[in-house]
């Protein structure tokens, strides 16, 4: 049975009401690591959005046209991860070619997108919630933009925090985690609006 939510609704819901990062807490490691400055956060956010959109589309096809017909759905974890890994390599090549500065800033974190659980999470949710192709792509794209929104917001706050008098013991990761928690709390206000299943 298909999911009754419309694609645009899924798109907006995955950005605001069901933000993959702030509602599901997926993709936290790079969220905390690369959110010191807005430009690199935007870069990583865009890269994640791109990978998420494309990999949900690709993984949808892999799932429905390879794994389901051959009754191999239990291989979905491996299959999804392989597709994501290949895609990240592609993105790495493209960034290296067209934005060397971003390439250096993202550095070791680019390959980390491969193990960014938000991306695998989106692919698995797409299966569990029985989205069709258009819904899946809308969900992937929205999920990516949601992640971008969250990381840029955190980067903005952290840039401001640089000048704030923070207790010594909370500097760095400590205060970032607290801020991330407060952001999640505020996003919780949206959470009852749409139930994504």
């Amino acid at each position: 049975m298909e999911n009754p939510l419309s694609a645009p609704l899924i798109f907006f819901a995955s950005i605001f009401t069901n933000n993959i990062l702030l509602a599901n807490f997926l993709g936290m490691c790079s969220f905390l690591a690369i959110s010191r400055e807005i430009p690199s956060a935007v870069g990583l956010g865009l890269a994640v959005t791109f990978v998420m959109t494309c990999t949900t589309a690709l993984n949808y096809l892999v799932y429905h046209y390879l794994l389901v017909p051959f009754q191999l759905v239990h291989f979905r974890f491996i299959a999804f991860i392989v597709v994501i890994a290949a895609f990240v390599q592609l993105v790495e090549m493209v960034i290296d070619r067209y934005s060397p500065r971003l390439y250096v800033v993202l550095g070791v974190f680019l390959p980390l997108i491969t193990v960014n659980c938000a991306i695998l999470g989106v692919c698995l949710f797409m299966v569990i919630r029985q989205y069709n192709f258009v819904q899946s792509v809308a969900y992937g794209f929205g999920g990516g933009l949601g992640w971008l929104l969250a990381i840029v917001a955190l980067a903005g706050i952290r840039e401001k925090l640089k000048k704030a008098p923070i207790p010594k013991a909370l500097e760095g990761p400590g205060i970032s985690l607290i801020v991330a928690g407060l952001m999640a709390l505020s996003f919780m206000a949206f959470s009852g609006m749409i139930s994504m299943g």
């Binding site: 892999v62 390879l66 794994l67 051959f70 009754q71 191999l72 291989f75 491996i78 299959a79 392989v82 597709v83 290949a86 390599q89 592609l90 090549m93 493209v94 290296d96 070619r97 060397p100 500065r101 250096v104 800033v105």
Partner: protein, 367 residues
């Protein structure tokens, strides 16, 4: 069973398709086409395949830029001025540049990826740096952890260098490294000996180059080196000198002392040599021979951890402790330091406190 086979086949098929796609993408995205490199307004020009790092690409063309870290962006030696092309300066480079260099377009050549035509300005002296094919004619343990590597030049047959300078030693691919790497080693032999050089190499735990040199290199092997590099060499003046070396840091100091003997440069000079225990003192014969030729050379070995069987009654402690005891007024001194960065930092601090002006302290950090 069938499911398992099917599963394996499908996943393998999927991986194969993705691998092919990646290969195709690589061919498209990593192809920067031919790039033109112009050096010093046309003094040298060549067209090369784009995509590589500038340092390596120039080296392939026979233009050697000094580098001590082998292109890892950690020594800051491989500077060139990029007049045109080269893309924006990267965050990995800026820590090594001052404002003036940033303004002029100085870059670390090991960090610049060749993505199009570039115009470079490099010191003429770099054109003198060459690659030499050499053969190992002697390998001699000097202490439990230090080996002397004796190389005879094959092609070109002679090297001209200033005593104190270093060469880059190419370690080929071997089981400890999947690609050739370069490491800097100071020349220990006299510059008057043009057809061969000696290096003094300390083993570094799990070090790529030193493990190769200590465990794999054999007599008769061919070795590629390039050089000479560096501005650590004897300055001509009449000032009394103090030389401080630790471990293999003795190498360039010895080469400088040989030069003083060869050229009859009779300046007061105190050589402090710091090691752990008596077994780590090497080249003692050479030093005594030099003392015979240089009447005003004084030698102070310093042991930091002498063993009971050493029966040591000489200087003990860190080498800088001995220097602190020996040098009270440094206002006339010229200092030559070589060894590990910690010693050098401590020695520079001490010497400046004793009145040696910073522009008269020369050093090579083996970091």
């Amino acid at each position: 069973m069938m499911t398992l086979v099917l599963g394996l086949l499908s996943i393998s098929g999927l991986c194969a398709v993705l691998a092919l796609l990646l290969e195709a993408a690589y061919a498209v995205f990593a192809d920067y086409g031919p790039c033109r490199i112009t050096i010093n307004e046309g003094a040298k020009e060549f067209t090369v395949k784009g995509g590589g790092r500038l340092l390596g690409t120039l080296m392939d063309q026979g233009v050697f830029i000094p580098s001590a870290c082998g292109g890892r962006g950690s020594c800051g030696l491989c500077k060139v001025t990029v007049l045109q092309g080269g893309g924006p300066i990267l965050p990995t480079e800026t820590p090594y540049m001052n404002d003036e260099e940033l303004r002029r377009g100085t870059r670390l050549s090991c960090q610049v990826r060749l993505r199009g035509d570039v115009q470079l300005q490099i010191p003429e002296a770099f054109f003198l740096i060459k690659e030499f094919r050499t053969q190992v004619v002697g390998l001699k343990p000097l202490t439990p952890s230090i080996k002397e590597v004796h190389l005879k030049l094959i092609e070109p047959q002679e090297i001209v260098f200033k005593p104190g300078q270093f060469i880059q030693f190419q370690v080929p691919e071997y089981e400890g490294s999947s690609e050739p790497v370069y490491r800097a080693y100071s020349i220990a032999s006299p510059a008057s000996l043009k057809t061969e050089i000696k290096l003094v190499i300390t083993r570094v735990e799990r070090g790529i180059a030193t493990t190769y040199i200590h465990d794999f290199l054999k007599e008769g092997d061919e070795v590629l080196i390039n050089g000479p590099y560096g501005d650590f060499y004897l300055r001509h003046s009449n000032r009394p000198m103090v030389m401080i070396g630790t471990g293999s840091g003795l190498a360039p100091l010895l080469s400088i002392l040989f030069q003083m003997a060869d050229e009859h440069i009779d300046r007061p000079c105190t050589l402090y040599f710091g090691v752990r225990s008596r077994q780590d003192l090497f080249y003692q014969e050479e030093i005594h021979q030099l003392m015979g030729m240089l009447p005003r050379l004084r030698y102070v070995p310093v042991l930091s951890q002498p063993l009971a069987e050493d029966h040591w009654d000489g200087e003990t402690g860190y080498v800088t402790d001995a220097v602190a005891r020996g040098v009270s007024d440094g206002s006339q001194l010229e200092a030559y330091l070589c060894g590990n960065p910690l010693m050098i930092n401590a020695a520079v601090k001490l010497l400046t406190e004793r009145g040696v002006s910073e522009d008269r302290i020369f050093f090579d950090k083996f970091g």
